[in-house]
């Protein structure tokens, strides 16, 4: 009679409460995908940029214009002096080229795109007039999967989602039950306290596979984000991550008597990790002095481990120190939470 066991019933309660709340479903499943989609598009690799320049009409202008048209990096227009100045002033072109015996470049040297235009146009003109390059140069464009921004982003969003659902799922549920005096009512029954807390972890496991799968599948199908490590390593990292944040969620909720109180605490714990744990940008951007602290954060360890497994395809053993960081957080938060937990 598995169905009649208290752990099954308690877990079903958690799952039902979640599936009957459409908003919660959106935040867990749709939100990370919407975010990944928006950021993925924003940073999608575009065709090489062209520079916009205007060529003033006059002696030798058409020859100059033809030479610039040759280059695929330049988008040139042939206009009269007044129009050319007007376009430069309003930012529609980055530079004006005046034909003549001495070709003149007219541009604002404080505008980055003007500086680029100056170099590109100079290059094209010199080449058209028969310049020979003395050093051989080759370009290696970076477009392969695994090294783009979206590849960096997907594991970060995965970590963020595991943190968010773990903390909110456990913390919010417990405080809600406490404010409804339901926790006290459960205590009056022979329910085992350990089974009550365990039911939160069980319900998390049910969702975890789905929410991680949804984000990974999305990354794979839409942006071809690679999954290089073994599935077992990924499962291990994800499970430990989920356990860690369930523990921290439990700790945050262990004494709070109000939803407002626990929400504030949640944000206090999570917002620094949103910023400092390498979700949207690498934490190496922070000063050297604070990096040891950032690396000690549980989300940093989870994100690093996810990236190592997904992108670099390293074996699980290679992430041992990251797993150890998470394990310490998980064990100590569970232990403290159980000690200070307020049941009434």
């Amino acid at each position: 009679m598995l169905d009649a066991s208290p752990l099954t019933q308690l877990t079903l309660w958690r799952i039902r409460e979640f599936t009957r709340e459409p908003e919660a479903l959106f935040w867990v499943f749709a939100f990370p995908i919407v975010l990944a989609f928006a950021l993925g598009l924003a940073f999608k690799n575009r065709a090489p940029e062209t520079v916009q320049v205007a060529v003033e009409e006059g002696q030798g202008a058409s020859e100059l214009f033809a030479a610039l048209e040759e280059s695929e990096r330049i988008d040139a227009v042939l206009v009269d002096t007044g129009e050319a100045d007007y376009r430069l002033r309003t930012g529609r072109v980055a530079m004006v080229v005046q034909p003549g015996e001495v070709v003149r470049f007219k541009y604002d040297s404080t505008r980055a795109e003007s500086l680029v235009a100056r170099l590109v146009v100079d290059d094209a003109l010199q080449e058209a007039r028969g310049r020979r390059d003395v050093a051989e140069i080759r370009e290696i464009p970076v477009t392969e999967p695994g090294a783009r921004y979206i590849d960096f982003l997907i594991p970060g969003l995965l970590g963020l989602n595991i943190m968010g659902t773990g903390m909110w799922g456990v913390g919010f549920g417990i405080v809600k039950t406490r404010t409804q005096k339901l926790l006290k009512r459960l205590l009056a029954s022979p329910m085992r306290r350990s089974e009550y807390l365990l039911s939160y972890v069980c319900a998390r496991l049910v969702w975890l596979g789905l929410e991680v799968g949804a984000v990974l599948l999305f990354g794979k199908l839409v942006f071809d984000v690679p999954i290089r490590g073994s599935l077992m390593s990924l499962v291990a990292v994800v499970l430990l991550g989920a356990a860690t944040f369930s523990g921290i969620g439990l700790l945050v909720a262990s004494r709070s008597k109000t939803i407002e109180g626990v929400s504030g605490l949640m944000n206090f714990v999570m917002v620094p990790m949103w910023i400092g744990s390498g979700v949207f940008f690498a934490y190496s951007n922070f000063p050297e002095a604070v990096q040891p602290f950032l690396r000690a954060l549980p989300l940093t360890a989870l994100n690093d481990a996810l990236r190592a497994v997904l992108l670099d395809g390293v074996p699980l053993a290679a992430t041992a120190n990251l797993l150890a960081v998470m394990l310490v957080w998980a064990a100590s938060s569970f232990a403290i939470a159980l000690k200070i937990f307020r049941w009434d």
Binding site: A4, L182, A188
Partner: protein, 313 residues
């Protein structure tokens, strides 16, 4: 076996519970017999909830000893929880679960008990079995809360203000459920501040005020302790005051109490008091305001003991 039958369902001695600035329970003794329905009657803040929570092992008393079904909380908690049922004040059952799911959840905690269908029938919620808790009326929710207390067919049932806030019809439905439980031989302890509830349901009532029991007995005994079956209440206009001894001199008047602007007399016979009362008032030149009479109730017992109404808070 006989010893077990005779042993009290609940026994407590010298119970004390203090909070920062108040003593909620102040040296309370209680003995509840097996098979009886025992009521704790008192206004809000009298210490009823604190007492019933201590008896249920949810609060630690500062002083005193508690035995429930012959066992102690410190040593037999798991066993005791299997054998009792409880309904607490202000519990909000999970909104998004159905009636059936809530009962099944609570049923899963007990080793033995009734089937879901039996419980649903008992509290008359069969038609609502698939409805979410959030869609239930106040009375239906309360019956569901009691169903959760009855799933294990407990020996002892704790009910903390089971009908507070319900309309009269919903209240009678709850009374019916409790009566049926009694009929099957169960022991119940309930708190209430409705004297009608205590009078209808309880074999014995403890009147609680300021953390102490100030009267104990069957509703009938408590009322007859007034030594007068009737109550006459009236007001005097223009703030005239007449000393109590004048009222006590009226035929059959047993006690006098003042309740706000009203004067309250307990009397053996209304018929004999009223004409005499009129004469006295006339003689003093007092103008009579509203006058009512009724059969004495537990409310009157409380008023005569404390000078306050049960619902004053």
């Amino acid at each position: 076996m006989i010893a077990r039958m005779l042993e009290a369902a609940v026994l407590c001695r010298g119970l004390v519970k203090r909070y920062a600035d108040v003593t909620a329970v102040d040296g309370l003794d209680l003995e509840i017999r097996r098979g009886e329905c025992f009521g704790m009657l008192g206004p809000n803040g009298a210490g009823k909830t604190t007492t019933i929570e201590i008896l249920q092992g949810l609060l630690q008393p500062d002083e005193g000893a508690v035995t429930v079904l012959g066992l102690e909380w410190d040593h037999h908690e798991a066993d005791l929880r299997q054998r009792m049922g409880s309904q607490l004040q202000e519990t909000k059952l999970p909104d998004k679960l159905t009636v059936e799911e809530v009962i099944r959840l609570f049923r899963s905690f007990y080793r033995r008990g009734n089937t879901i269908d039996e419980v649903l029938h008992e509290v008359q919620l069969e038609e609502k079995r698939k409805a979410w808790v959030s869609k239930l009326s106040g009375g239906q929710r309360q019956r569901l809360a009691i169903a959760c207390a009855l799933v294990s067919e407990p020996e002892l049932l704790f009910l903390d203000e089971p009908t507070t806030g319900l309309d009269p019809q919903a209240r009678r439905q709850v009374w019916e459920i409790i009566s049926q439980f009694r009929g099957r031989g169960g022991t119940a302890l309930l708190t209430t501040h409705y004297m009608e509830e205590a009078q209808r349901l309880c074999d014995r009532v403890a009147v609680v005020d300021r953390g102490k029991i100030i009267a104990l007995g069957s509703p009938r005994d408590l009322i007859s302790s007034l030594r007068a079956e009737h109550v006459v209440e009236f007001e005097l206009e223009c703030g005239t005051t007449i000393p109590d001894h004048v009222y006590l001199g009226l035929p059959g008047v047993h006690s006098v109490a003042h309740d706000g602007g009203k004067i309250w007399l307990s009397a053996a016979h209304v018929r004999r008091v009223i004409p005499e009362l009129m004469k006295v008032l006339e003689g003093k030149g007092a103008v009579l305001g509203e006058l009512t009479t009724h059969h004495a109730t537990l409310e009157d017992v409380f008023l005569s003991l404390t000078g306050r109404h049960l619902r004053d808070g």
